[in-house]
Symmetry: C2
């Protein structure tokens, strides 16, 4: 009684379309792919049949017959940078490629040094030179990226991920809303500290829009909802251990009533291990050192942005718009995951 059958309706094939239109399958194929010359009349006839019957290309058959590989270029920081966060992103991409291996892909990785604009530019050049059908890039270095604005060939689809540059002609961006993730951290800090004491915020990588926006969201939330004093501490872009040490000491010496610290990226563990237990600490990213400290109670909350998933989603969408020629959303938002000691195991 309550039985429903979900059976994909029988899909019409090009052969059937050809029969209906009274032409050969070759001709139908031509109008589907808009290649070769077909008379307007038959083209119209075929189009109307396709529409009427709701034709959808059988990707399976298509991929099976199609022999040529699709070249995709991936432009991301070195795997070990940012506490191996980028390695996890790369793993996600590779995994998705593996899973979709019947799509005959040739995925090439171009790694750059995220602290070297010159190297970034070089790798971007190289990636473009390979003449890929799709380009997946983490546009961390805004200024340098914009220089390529008008250099993207017609036949190369660009998808951004992790951070965004809306002014750039990219088809889509996959990532987390930086501002809202900062606000979420602010909320958590609020309930952790209960509006008591003062808060420190680490401002890192000033040139990285993504990370700065998190700090902004955090500060905005606390300013709106609490009366706590908030002070910012600036760190030079290249993370050096002694800088963490110096900054941690500085924070402690300047705040006798410090109740919370917010670090808007994965380097939160460098601070957590240098501050007393009673200071509540919130940071980003489920990298190894952070996970360990979260479990140990040194870090109170982590916001996660699912690097693997991010990589997977990004590649899947790049494939959608290149191989499958489908439309993809301009913006794909990833959830702002809240991790604490109690639920971290469920994320591994």
């Amino acid at each position: 009684m309550c039985t429903l059958t979900h059976s994909g309706l029988k899909m019409i094939t090009i052969k059937e379309i050809a029969e209906q239109a009274g032409v050969s399958i070759g001709t139908v194929d031509r109008v589907i792919h808009d290649r070769g010359r077909v008379s307007e009349k038959t083209k119209n006839k075929i189009h109307s049949i396709m529409e009427k019957e709701g034709y959808r290309r059988n990707i399976v058959a298509s991929q099976l017959s199609n022999s040529r590989k699709t070249l995709l270029a991936v432009l991301i920081p070195h795997p070990h940078q940012n506490d191996s966060f980028w390695g996890m992103i790369g793993d996600g991409i590779r995994e998705a490629g593996e899973k979709l291996s019947y799509f005959k892909l040739d995925i090439r990785f171009y790694y750059f040094d995220r602290y070297s604009p010159v190297n970034y530019t070089e790798q971007f050049e190289e990636a473009l030179n390979s003449n890929p059908s799709g380009l997946l890039v983490a546009p961390i270095l805004a200024e340098e990226t914009m220089k390529f604005r008008d250099r993207i060939p017609e036949n190369c689809k660009v998808v951004f991920f992790n951070s965004d540059l809306p002014e750039f002609p990219r088809l889509s961006c996959i990532g987390q809303d930086s501002y809202e993730s900062g606000r979420t951290a602010g909320k958590l800090m609020h309930i952790l500290t209960g509006d008591r004491g003062s808060i420190a915020v680490i401002e890192v990588n000033l040139e990285d829009y993504h990370i700065n926006t998190r700090a902004l969201g955090f500060k905005d939330y606390l300013k709106e909802q609490t009366s706590m004093a908030i002070s910012s501490y600036y760190l030079p872009p290249e993370n050096r251990k002694d800088e963490f040490e110096i900054t941690a000491k500085k924070i402690l010496s300047e705040h006798r009533d410090l109740t919370g610290l917010f670090v808007p990226n994965s380097s939160v563990h460098f601070f957590a291990e240098r501050l007393p237990d009673n200071v509540k600490i919130i940071g980003f990213d489920q990298v190894e050192a952070n996970t360990r400290q979260l479990k140990a109670g040194q870090i109170d909350f982590l916001i996660n942005q699912q690097p693997r998933k991010q990589g997977e989603l990004a590649l899947e969408n790049l494939i959608k718009c290149t191989v499958l020629q489908e439309e993809i959303p301009i913006n794909i938002k990833l959830p702002i995951e809240i991790l604490c000691r109690e639920n971290i195991n469920s994320y591994e």
Copy 2:
């Protein structure tokens, strides 16, 4: 320089195996599927070649040529039950079926009334009678499920999801760790209330192991970490509006110092709208009413168990073990997602 090529190694085909073995592809096909009669000698030879070359069946070609459908049965509560939570599960399943439509599936849904053991049994019977290759079931009614323990045919793979019954011979279970999700709620309640006042817990559906375990985790956490008084309130299984009303009043009258309420399922919104704002409220599931109240600040935190994702994962894994004949993990844990006003938008 930093260019890596990810090119799937060339896979060996049955044709090539046939050539190497000096037999025809028909014979190779027979040993791969272990059907028909093949001499031991050639069987061994082919197996060793397959192993040596790392043969993996090309699913794309396989699905293209294979004409017969795989029948899968899905046994879940009526879509509208539990605030449409089950509808979302069903959507996830349907979506996954859509996405994997080239697998030629016939997915049949058997809906049951989760408050009627009799109806559950009937639907289970019907599902089995359709003689499916795979059976996906939400074994909410433990006792009734166990009755089918020895009635699963050889050729029918059973996958559980949402809740589990480890003693049942199922291949896998996909779901959230109930106990840990309860503990996570406890942690959040702890920081929200700051160990002040007393806490009420709603105990619903006593026959539902999944939900009770959440309440247990919650209470355990608070007992370990705080000194707050915790009282339980029991609700009859069938949720009736007046029962919520009565219980809410009872809670308020019995606790002048009530600071928090925990509802281990989706009906949290019925209570949230009946309790004063200063009571911190934590519940489960991102159903419509709960989402609305979370945004309005009436509910403080929701634990989400990704119904759509759960459905998708469950079907994907059922397909894996039926169509693809692959091994699947005995346990697939879903993340314990923490939702609050600030990050809820990123989950929609």
